[in-house]
């Protein structure tokens, strides 16, 4: 895969430049490309990169335009996670953008999707509580006194799988970005 190795190569070169304290150039890149935009919550900061234009435009048309900005959905809730994700994504995107070497159209990856999924859950905690079996386990076990033992004796046919949550985006793909589909 020449594409991948090229990307790694550029990444490596870029890194060594960093480590080699060629701070001036990189700093210029960072500032010029408005790399600092990663540190704010301003959506237009993301759209600084023309490759984000489409998502930006989709967001403007979306149902969440008035209620959520990019980082509400694409950065974890907690402070550390937020800046870790931003740093990771920021670095990835800068390298990808500069090398021009990434899959198009851009599709969200599994890791970032998990971040987004948990953002949905965190805002919509109330409304989606009812549909998660994990919660049902908790509610009925809490209130049931001795009934947990009951379950074990009768042997429910299977234990709740750890990953048995429902993917929101499967049905609500376009809440953040209105699109034709």
């Amino acid at each position: 895969m020449p594409g991948v190795s090229r990307r790694i190569a550029i990444s490596a070169v870029a890194l060594s430049v960093l480590v080699g304290a060629a701070v001036g150039v990189v700093g210029f890149t960072f500032v010029y490309a408005k790399g600092s935009s990663y540190l704010t919550d301003d959506p237009s900061a993301c759209a600084n990169c023309h490759v984000m234009n489409e998502q930006y435009a989709g967001w403007v048309k979306s149902s969440h335009h008035g209620v959520a900005v990019c980082n509400d959905c694409h950065a974890p809730r907690d402070f550390l996670g937020k800046y870790y994700t931003k740093a990771l994504n920021g670095w990835h995107h800068s390298v990808a953008f500069t090398s021009g070497d990434f899959h198009e159209p851009i599709h969200i990856g599994a890791r970032n999707l998990e971040v987004t999924e948990s953002a949905c859950r965190s805002c919509h905690q109330d409304i989606v509580q009812a549909i998660e079996p994990g919660l049902l386990v908790r509610v009925s076990a809490e209130g049931a006194g001795g009934s947990r033992g009951e379950t074990e004796r009768h042997g429910g046919p299977h234990l709740p799988p750890g990953d048995g949550t429902m993917s929101c985006v499967r049905c609500h793909r376009s809440v953040g970005h209105m699109q034709l589909d």
Binding site: H107, I127, A144, G156, P157, M166, S167
Partner: protein
């Protein structure tokens, strides 16, 4: 008042279910479950409703109660709507009574009182799909479902009928403690294990190995499938050993010779196809995209501050905004038109197939009148058997092609080809028919398991299948 209202909602939301009644693995009565889950229960009760759509739903037809059939309302007769069906099923109980199916609330009564019960002696096996039988099986098998299943299969229908009083109930789809979905039907467990084994997956246990998303279709696939009663034990069997495509099923019936009846007008040994919703759904683009039965037939619905699954299982075309519009951003009218355009094409191909079959039946009757013997007609019979089964497969499937439109059209196109060739062969014994390329049985399914193919790019891993990029 506003403030209280909001407060109440938040309470409701945080603690969606109150444990009012104690539920155990032996609580059959849905009314008791309904104390803990009143919203789901209310919706569940609404499956008594009857509303017609262009090709589905059902119509409430008044019926004068009799001793033999005390129902005061039934669904419309499909035989009256289309008498060609009587000819297709000549000599079989279906030619006496066949109605549009309606909501789950009616399943037990409709099975008990169909005229088909009066013309044939049915086995207890029938109840597998028309009643709450989980506890019946468990009890008769002393905790072993399979043993209980066998025991019921050996009874007569009316003996077995006494053991149950509810249509499919909460306990048949849910674990009583966690409310998780589970499969309770032996025929489905066994059929899936056999199919998976043929695909190289040993010892498949659907309740252990299926993902939650798969379960959202499997609970329906327990009943909405093609089946037959195997051997003298009348074991309920789903013919999926070679896969779910119609060619796989036909290959299965070739290897395990079986006929449902002998056609009264032609003498051909024929098969009846029944409601293969699960099989056909599996061939469509929705299954490939991971869209489950429940996504469309039990879509999420907001009730107060909660969002729950609509237990009023029915035609999605009666509920397009919830059933389709979360995924498809087109107007209701447009979505209905799209579905109906697909259904109309299927309907036209079904009609030409039935016309061809009527022609064939007349041709064979004439040939017999003119002295042709069963032996002379063996080739014709083979074509009738295959062609009629393919035609009936789509006729019996209840979405009028929607679940897999191109596959339905392909099957109907090939069915007509077979039947018309039978008509040539009756007239010309030198004619060499072409059987449209029967799939090599090993070809199996387009995708490894129902509903697992084609995950969206970047979808969170869910047990099966990785993310291709």
């Amino acid at each position: 008042a506003l403030a209280t209202n909001i407060f109440e909602r938040k309470q409701e939301a945080r603690n969606p279910f109150f444990r009012v009644a104690e539920l155990t693995d032996d609580t059959v009565d849905p009314a008791i479950w309904g104390k803990n889950f009143p919203l789901q229960y209310d919706m569940y009760l609404r499956t008594v409703d009857q509303v017609r759509t262009k090709y589905g739903g059902s119509e409430a037809v008044p019926h004068a109660p009799t001793q033999a059939d005390p129902r005061s309302v039934v669904a419309q007769s499909r035989l009256e709507e289309d008498p060609r069906l009587k000819t297709m099923w000549a000599g079989y109980a279906f030619s006496k009574d066949f109605r549009e199916e309606r909501g789950h609330a009616h399943m037990l009564a409709d099975q008990t009182f169909t005229e088909r019960q009066q013309v044939t002696k049915q086995p207890g096996t029938c109840l597998h799909c028309h009643a709450s039988t989980y506890n019946v099986y468990k009890k008769l098998g002393d905790g072993d479902l399979m043993k209980g299943f066998d025991a019921v299969n050996h009874m007569t229908y009316f003996e077995a009928r006494k053991l149950t009083e509810h249509p499919v109930a909460c306990i048949d789809c849910h674990d009583s403690q966690t409310l998780q979905l589970r499969v309770t039907r032996p025929a489905f467990m066994q059929a899936m294990a056999r199919m998976k084994a043929a695909q190289g997956v040993q010892d498949y246990n659907v309740n252990r190995d299926a993902t939650r998303q798969e379960m959202r279709s499997y609970v329906c696939g327990q009943c909405h499938v093609e089946y037959y009663f195997k051997g003298p034990e009348k074991t309920l069997t789903y013919p999926w050993d070679k896969g779910l495509k119609i060619e796989n099923i036909l290959a299965y019936y070739d290897e395990n010779p079986h006929k449902d009846w002998t056609h009264a007008d032609t003498g051909a040994p024929v098969l009846k196809a029944q409601h293969p919703e699960f099989e056909m759904w599996n061939q469509g683009v929705h299954a490939r995209s991971g869209v489950s039965c429940s996504d469309c037939h039990m879509p999420y619905t907001r009730v107060g501050a909660q969002k729950i699954s609509d237990h009023h299982v029915r035609s999605p075309l009666l509920n397009i905004n919830r059933a389709c519009q979360t995924c498809h951003h087109f107007s209701e009218a447009e979505l209905r038109a799209r579905a109906e355009a697909l259904q109309e094409r299927t309907f036209r191909l079904r009609n030409q197939g039935l016309d061809a079959l009527m022609g064939l039946v007349n041709d064979v009757k004439a040939a017999k009148a003119a002295g042709k013997t069963d032996q002379d007609l063996a080739g014709v019979y083979a074509l009738q058997r295959r062609g009629q089964f393919m035609l009936d497969f789509i006729e019996a499937e209840n979405s009028m092609g929607f679940h897999a439109p191109e596959e339905a059209a392909r099957i109907l196109g090939q069915a007509t080809n077979l039947i018309r060739q039978a008509q040539i062969l009756v007239r010309d014994s030198n004619f060499k028919p072409e059987i449209p390329d029967a799939l090599p049985a090993s070809a199996g399914d387009a995708h490894a398991g129902p509903g697992t193919g084609g995950k969206p790019v970047g979808s969170p891993a869910e047990g099966t299948g990785g993310t291709a990029h």
